[in-house]
Symmetry: C2
Subunit: 188 residues, 2 copies
């Protein structure tokens, strides 16, 4: 049960970060969203708010890596599609009100520790994506820079879609990214 | 003089948005940063904080359009370079502590009006970039989607660079975007 409360708080923090950013993700909002008792703060996050934020982006980052693991063995186009499908689901399920919690922390937190953690998560995504692309037959140097482009462009596309409240800019970016890997077919 | 105070407040709001997002851009922070008297709030922004935020992203958005106007007549590669140079300067001058105020409002404000305004600014950038790319000899449909990719990828690249505190991911994205327009030379 204690574990359940901590998980609910982390999930609420992820959702609040994805929707409104770091400052809006206060302990009081998290308690209200997760229906956790006030004592849970000191029990589960004795170091304070940034400990909760760190746990939230860690879970969020690991979830994306788990999704990427599921794309192993696919062709480059399918890898692009799979990564974009993850972001599309975030936009769709939230009716364009949520985006990336790691981006949110990067642009609104004021903590060197959280910034380093965000960088580390982006690096893990980039490394895993590059590895998958190499697996699809793409040369290593090409895969490394395309993985970085894929992360940057998808993050930006989510922001444009949230502003527009529409998939139009997101779909335009997705199509260009697909074009960028045309010719790299599945390796089996 | 009164005009000077309003301008200083708008500049401070742009800087605060670019560094910490919507919630952190409070009237009290803006007054402290701009050394404006408290009465300036009610004098210049009688409708409240969102009126200041709207003025800030409008100025910021128009500044980018003015920069784009300066790229008129150039080739597609130079247009990419010019747009990326603007973001590079933001990162460099702030030592990786600032990014895009329009992105910040999109991901951390909770106001349909501000979201519409952010979308409108992104649309103006996209339209102007597409127009410039067509002027460089790119077919219209290609220019429209590449302009959207350029905005999304540069926004994401700025976020990755802030997280990494390094130009490495930004430069990787820039190189891929340049590759994406290879073959579209200057038209005069």
């Amino acid at each position: 049960m204690a574990r359940g409360v901590r998980d609910r708080m982390v999930q609420s923090a992820i959702a609040l970060l994805a929707k409104r950013g770091y400052q809006a993700t206060s302990f009081s909002e998290v308690l209200a969203e997760s229906a956790a008792p006030r004592g849970s703060i000191y029990h589960h996050f004795p170091e304070g708010k940034d400990q909760l934020i760190a746990a939230a982006i860690e879970v969020s980052g690991a979830r994306a890596v788990a999704l990427l693991d599921g794309l192993d063995g696919l062709g480059a186009t399918e890898i692009v599609d799979g990564f974009m499908a993850m972001w599309r689901a975030v936009l769709q399920l939230s009716t364009f009100s949520a985006g990336c919690s790691v981006l949110a922390v990067t642009v609104s937190a004021d903590s060197p520790g959280l910034l380093e953690q965000a960088a580390d998560i982006f690096r893990r995504w980039q490394a895993r994506l590059a590895e998958l692309l190499v697996g699809s037959g793409m040369p290593a140097a090409d895969a490394a820079s395309f993985a970085t482009l894929l992360i940057a462009a998808s993050e930006g596309a989510v922001v444009l879609a949230r502003a527009e409240q529409s998939f139009a800019p997101f779909d335009a970016v997705h199509a260009r990214l697909r074009d960028g890997v045309a010719g790299h077919g599945p390796n089996h």
